[in-house]
Homo-oligomer: 249 residues x 2
């Protein structure tokens, strides 16, 4: 592989220790559509059977991963580099949240830059010299009482935030069923049907409370997202209950 | 435990299978400050030593977890329930992204509601009847070619999004070092010092290009975030280089 045509960030695992974590990182990346993994000096050699087993459907990322001896070799073609680190380092550098970093990456990539994110080894995180090499820092805002994000989790969150930048899924959609939401007039007729049957049944008592009770019932139905089928079903329910009452009386 | 005083969402693992995943879910929750875990019918019984081993620092969530036999028992005290599901279900329901859901939860919790999120068993996800029981659906927008988020990853992403709602970490901060950024006047003097030495050295040639070269150099220094110490260091660098030139000449 190579940086040519790189239009997503490269995720660079620096001296990763456990194959399982490399595989889990590949899964986390591919879950959110990222393909460009790089590694420096994986502790247990390369290829790594445990990484392959864990990666399962994301195995092609491992096949295509660029494996380098040093950080300098792994990032030589990149224009802008982010270092993930949990601990504050005494350096003058921009510190991003994952969201802020993803936004910055999207901006740079749109401008034709090639960007990468460094992830440190499981035990100790990135060495200071790798953080210095980066242009900016990413720190996940975790619970200060418990900040033990592991490598694969950190990769997953960054991949998720990257995809959020490009993703156009609306934050909230009101309908997934097959049929369309009922028209207001059909819901009105349902409500009228219900009120009429309740009037017959003497439900509204005392009469002075009728208006507010009708308002509340109407509101309840208008706040419930109903399809045409739901409206038909509810009218059947009202009819069945009313008939049962008539049979009993 | 109980719902009393619940001011964060409860995360409810429905019939989780592997203890490791329950422990990893606890870690993911506590990484982002969430404490209220509930479980229904964990396959391998309860307490579960593998869950405890994996949870490590988040073990207290397991100690305090509410364990119930059925979904109905586990969620009985909650006012609003979200079901996480990867597959679209043919139901009329609001579908949230994790971000949209977290925003909705924050709104409801601020209004005094108690909310919970259902997570299905590893293999098959939530049963339809549990999705029906929920008031809304959460779907993580994953890569359609590879959507195999596991239980702990799904919990981690929801916990992360929950914390993002409350978190006030700025998306981008420009400084983390000990000393303050240098004042503009000090940077100006550094630039003047550099230009003056370069003039002495005959650097600006041809003279017609001097203005644009000066502009570029000045811009370079003004775009570099420098502390007072950095400015002093750079002036020392200029001085040293200039002296070396004088010594050689």
């Amino acid at each position: 592989m190579g940086g040519k045509g790189l239009s997503d960030p490269a995720f660079i695992l620096i001296e990763p220790q456990m194959g399982e974590n490399i595989g889990a990182a590949a899964r986390g990346m591919w879950n959110f559509g990222l393909r460009h993994m790089r590694l420096t000096s994986p502790r247990d050699g390369w290829p790594n059977t445990k990484a392959v087993a864990m990666a399962s459907g994301a195995g092609s990322l491992l096949d295509e991963a660029l494996v380098a001896g040093t950080t300098a070799e792994a990032v030589g073609d990149l224009n802008y580099l982010y270092a993930t680190t949990a601990r504050p380092r005494e350096m003058t550098k921009t510190v991003f949240t994952p969201e802020g970093a993803a936004r910055d990456m999207a901006k740079r990539i749109a401008a034709g830059e090639k960007v990468g994110v460094l992830f440190g080894p499981e035990r100790a995180g990135l060495a200071n010299e790798d953080v210095v090499r980066a242009n900016a820092i990413i720190t996940v805002p975790v619970n200060p009482q418990f900040s033990s994000l592991n490598l694969a989790q950190c990769v997953l969150l960054m991949a998720y935030e990257w995809r959020r930048q490009a993703d156009e899924t609306p934050a909230e959609v009101y309908h997934t069923g097959k049929s369309d939401l009922a028209a207001a007039a059909d819901v009105d007729r349902l409500i009228e049907h219900l009120i009429s049957e309740l009037d017959d049944a003497g439900f509204f008592f005392p009469e002075t409370k009728r208006d507010s009770m009708v308002t509340n019932l109407a509101n309840l139905y208008r706040c419930t997202p109903m399809t045409d089928q739901d409206v038909r079903t509810m009218r059947g329910v009202i009819r069945a209950l009313a008939e049962k009452r008539l049979l009993k009386s």
